[in-house]
């Protein structure tokens, strides 16, 4: 009997040991094997990010995240960590991508490539620090390109600094400078305060702002009197000071606000900067005048493009959008269609009569305005650090595309007409060539 019991207890011991060892084996599998598999599966099942023509910007292959287009829209797309998106759209749309859904963007690869190439060439030639470009489809607000320089390749994101990974067109704010003149003249036309042929006395400098005022200067030599059309062509600050004399601070601020400055851009999920408009209580006479040529406020390239798109789109502001299938979040009429048509003619004349070699293409009606703004360093405007800006659209009579360009920190030929305008021209040439639009003999604007 005792022998029988001993044998049975041996069998039980062996069984218990076997069960214990199987537990150890299972735990070891959990510890070493499964997490790797889980990570691989999470990455493999992650949705792709596609451009508007269906080409792949981000995709999972063999358990790895790859970006076939390399630097193309690198900052917009962002990059992946171990299992989650870290920056850009990879982070903003992390949840839906993890659920296996594809994300189709409004970005057009050809337009994006054209913007990146022109921007890179301009920044390098003029020894700039960085730059950005935004291109918007006029009628829909679809963002066709959002380019940053220096370029960023998400495939090797660890090799790039946080500065380079920054989605500059959406996040960098700066003073838009004289590009604002086009928008303010449109507001004055809309209010019936001026016409294209209204004449103003325009010395090269003028004291404005009463007791706490300051003397404003013009950079480009011009006649002693200028029409509204010529104020834009010569980019006269003095002329603008006259032009806004009857535009109240409240109204001027409201127009700028309606153009989207100092407001959040209503792009769902994606991070954008708000920029700055001074508070209504701070709008002295001096602020009213300096705001008319883009000083004392700040904007992103995206906001500037959206504001100019309002002029291109018959006065209707449409919030930009980056993802296909999402409707524009905001639509509002800022100026009347006839005012928009008038300002489009004036902005066409800026290029045709002023900077045709820098920003014009023979046979095509391009419109736009340059800006050169000093950068504030330690509360004072630097005389060595500049932002070169351009905003415009084409074709001027029935715009299809709006473009804003900014280059920061160029040390040679940094004026808007010398740097940002040629970038605009190069992009326009590429876009028009893609359209295969035939040149036309244009009447004088």
């Amino acid at each position: 009997m005792e022998v029988k019991i001993r044998n049975r207890s041996r069998v039980m011991q062996v069984l218990a040991l076997a069960m214990f060892l199987s537990l150890v084996w299972a735990y070891a599998q959990l510890e070493w094997g499964v997490p790797h598999t889980v990570k691989r599966n999470v990455l493999q099942s992650r949705g792709s990010i596609l451009a508007s023509d269906g080409s792949v910007l981000a995709r999972s292959v063999g358990g790895q995240r790859v970006y076939p287009q390399g630097v193309l829209a690198g900052q917009v797309v962002g990059m992946m960590g171990e299992t989650d998106g870290l920056e850009g759209l990879e982070a903003a749309y992390n949840r839906s991508l993890q659920a296996g859904e594809n994300l189709k963007l409004t970005i057009d690869p050809k337009t994006q490539a054209a913007a990146e190439a022109a921007l890179a060439q301009g920044v390098k030639e003029h020894h700039g620090e960085y730059g950005s470009v935004v291109i918007i489809e006029t009628l829909t607000g679809r963002v066709l390109a959002a380019a940053s320089y220096p370029p960023f390749d998400p495939n090797n994101w660890r090799n790039y600094s946080a500065e380079t990974r920054r989605n500059r067109p959406f996040l960098d704010t700066y003073e838009p400078g004289s590009t604002i003149k086009g928008l303010i003249v449109a507001a004055a036309l809309n209010e019936g305060l001026t016409t294209p042929t209204t004449t103003y006395s325009t010395p090269m400098e003028r004291y404005v702002g009463g007791r706490w005022g300051s003397t404003i200067h013009d950079a480009v030599a011009h006649p002693a009197t200028l029409t509204t059309k010529e104020i834009l062509r010569y980019s006269s600050n003095v002329g603008m000071s006259h032009l806004v004399e009857n535009l109240t601070a409240d109204k001027e601020r409201a127009y700028l606000s309606n153009y989207g400055f100092g407001q959040d851009v209503q792009i769902p999920v994606v991070a954008t900067a708000t920029g700055r408009l001074q508070r209504p209580s701070e709008w002295t006479d001096l602020v009213r005048v300096t705001s008319a040529f883009g000083q004392g406020m700040s904007s992103t390239t995206l906001q500037l493009a959206a504001a100019y798109n309002t002029l291109a789109n018959d006065g209707l502001y449409i919030s930009p959008r980056l993802v296909e299938g999402t409707p524009a979040s905001e639509r509002r009429e800022v100026i009347r269609p006839e005012s928009a048509r008038t300002i489009r003619g004036l902005l066409q004349a800026v290029i045709a009569e002023g900077i045709s070699s820098a920003a014009g293409l023979k046979g095509y009606a391009l419109a736009g305005k340059t800006g050169t703004s000093q950068v504030a360093v330690n509360g004072k405007y630097s005389d060595r650090l500049f932002d070169s800006v351009f905003a415009g659209f084409f074709p001027a009579d029935a715009p299809r595309v709006t473009i804003a360009v900014t280059v920061h920190g160029a040390t040679t030929n940094y004026h808007g007409s010398m740097l940002a305008a040629p970038i605009y021209k190069k992009i326009a040439a590429s876009v028009i060539s893609n359209w295969a639009a035939a040149p036309q003999q244009l009447p004088n604007p």
Binding site: S55, V56, G62, A113, G363, A429, S430, I432, S433
Partner: protein, 123 residues
């Protein structure tokens, strides 16, 4: 509670031995058949696993090739190639206007003035 066996139930040892042998042989036959089938098809599962591995490898290769193609034809590369080969944008090409004058009159086919009269009678 006790169970009563039917009266004609054969409980003879010889009968049960025979039954045991019969069923045991059937069991052994089935077991041998199973083992034989398993032996005959032992290559199927390793082959299946191999094929699954091959499929995974081919899928990865296909994905990698797709990406290689996309990388090769990115708009940047095409633009760079075009610029390096001296091409310019169509919109930037030099343009000239020329008056082509009045074109030669077109020899349009003469219109046939024959008419057809149709009378409709309603009944």
């Amino acid at each position: 509670m006790t169970t009563r066996l039917p009266l004609n139930f054969d409980t003879a040892p010889a009968t049960w031995q025979w039954r045991t042998l019969r069923y045991l042989s059937i069991y052994l036959l089935l077991a041998i058949t199973l083992i034989a089938v398993r032996y005959k098809t032992q290559h199927v599962r390793p082959n299946l696993l191999d094929l699954q591995k091959q499929e995974a490898t081919l899928l990865t290769q296909r994905d990698n090739l797709e990406i290689a193609v996309q990388v090769a034809v990115t708009p940047q590369r095409i633009q760079e190639w075009a610029a390096a080969n001296g091409m310019i944008h169509f919109a930037e090409s030099p343009k000239a206007a020329r008056d082509l004058g009045q074109g030669a009159p077109l020899n349009l086919p003469t219109t046939n003035n024959n008419t057809i009269e149709v009378k409709t009678q309603w009944k």
